[in-house]
Symmetry: C2
Subunit: 202 residues, 2 copies
């Protein structure tokens, strides 16, 4: 017995998503057989309109419905601070802290030669131009790429390039160490070394 074609089409679509294997794709598809047709149509419409109704903000490259995005057009934010991120959804995490009131710049990835992603595949040129313009008045650039090999390489690349076009700009990286609630026993040695180096007076 073969799975009917209408089902395999949905299974194949799910399988293309990251972290969804053949078994999960099958389980999700058979689950959808039990939901009402109008909910399936709402899901389908949302997929079709996902990219049609959004764009990338020309200033910060965040995903948005308007250009410039609500953050870039918010005059109450501190326009002297610029935080660089790999992915648009990471903005949400920083916004939730309530501690960052500056502007963002989204690279949409990190430099990864193994995946053929070089600086030209990311919004790095935009960032360099943005920091070069004196009228933008940035005081500090926080490079918040991930603490992975690719994220660190991207941070180093950005640091080198931006120091050339704007030597006076202060460039920082997020503090590293033990995350809140973590167990010292299970902390890896690299993290512990960073925590010792970054120790603070009480």
């Amino acid at each position: 017995m073969k799975i009917p074609r209408p089902l395999t089409r949905v299974i194949e679509a799910f399988e293309k998503l990251p972290g969804i294997g053949p078994k999960t794709a099958q389980r999700l598809t058979y689950y959808l057989l039990h939901i009402p047709q109008d909910e399936l149509e709402i899901f389908a419409r949302a997929l079709v309109n996902l990219k049609k109704d959004t764009l990338l903000c020309k200033v910060c490259r965040n995903v948005s419905e308007s250009d410039p995005c609500p953050i870039c057009s918010d005059s109450s934010r501190d326009s002297t601070l610029l935080l660089v991120l790999e992915q648009p959804y990471e903005i949400l995490s920083f916004e939730r802290t309530g501690k960052f009131k500056g502007l963002y710049h989204v690279l949409h990835g990190s430099i990864n030669p193994l995946d053929n992603i070089g600086p030209d595949e990311l919004y790095i040129e935009d960032l360099i131009k943005r920091t070069k313009k004196k009228e933008n008045g940035f005081r500090e650039l926080i490079i918040a790429t991930n603490p992975t090999m690719e994220g660190e390489a991207t941070a180093m690349f950005l640091h080198k390039k931006i120091k050339i076009v704007n030597p006076k700009l202060k460039i920082t990286r997020l503090g590293m160490g033990i995350p809140t609630g973590a167990d010292l026993e299970y902390a890896d040695e690299v993290t512990l070394r960073e925590a010792i180096a970054g120790r603070r007076e009480m």
Copy 2:
């Protein structure tokens, strides 16, 4: 900052699926922003047509494009053997074994009073009618509901009901014990007890 509406619509649709939480739904949605529009439309079309292009076989209640389904209309199969399952996708597992050549009956769930699923919410009446008809010529009924509380309760309910309408029908349950490749050290005591009770001569 709020997530743009076109994204939250897709996130909400994903969140309704079993095993997909808010974080995964968000990750999948942002991933979809990077795939071509025509792939999104293929996904959407597959969803809309999922239920339109399929039906439940009137004989066995399997999901199919034709009625009766390819298995029920295959005259080379052993029509004296009937295997009862909870879900349509479980048929695939039995077909892959190559060891079962009989017919199936899909209940579409198991009796679960906590979820308000009683015998009337399942295709149990159909099964009772099917086994009652002498001209169907069933020799054996294998109840292959899951070895869970609900599956066992369903099996016991079916056994009782079918014995009334067809007292001579042989009713069996799948063999229980240690699964292939399992580690005895980690086998739970209920499974071990079943394995001892079901031991076979070498």
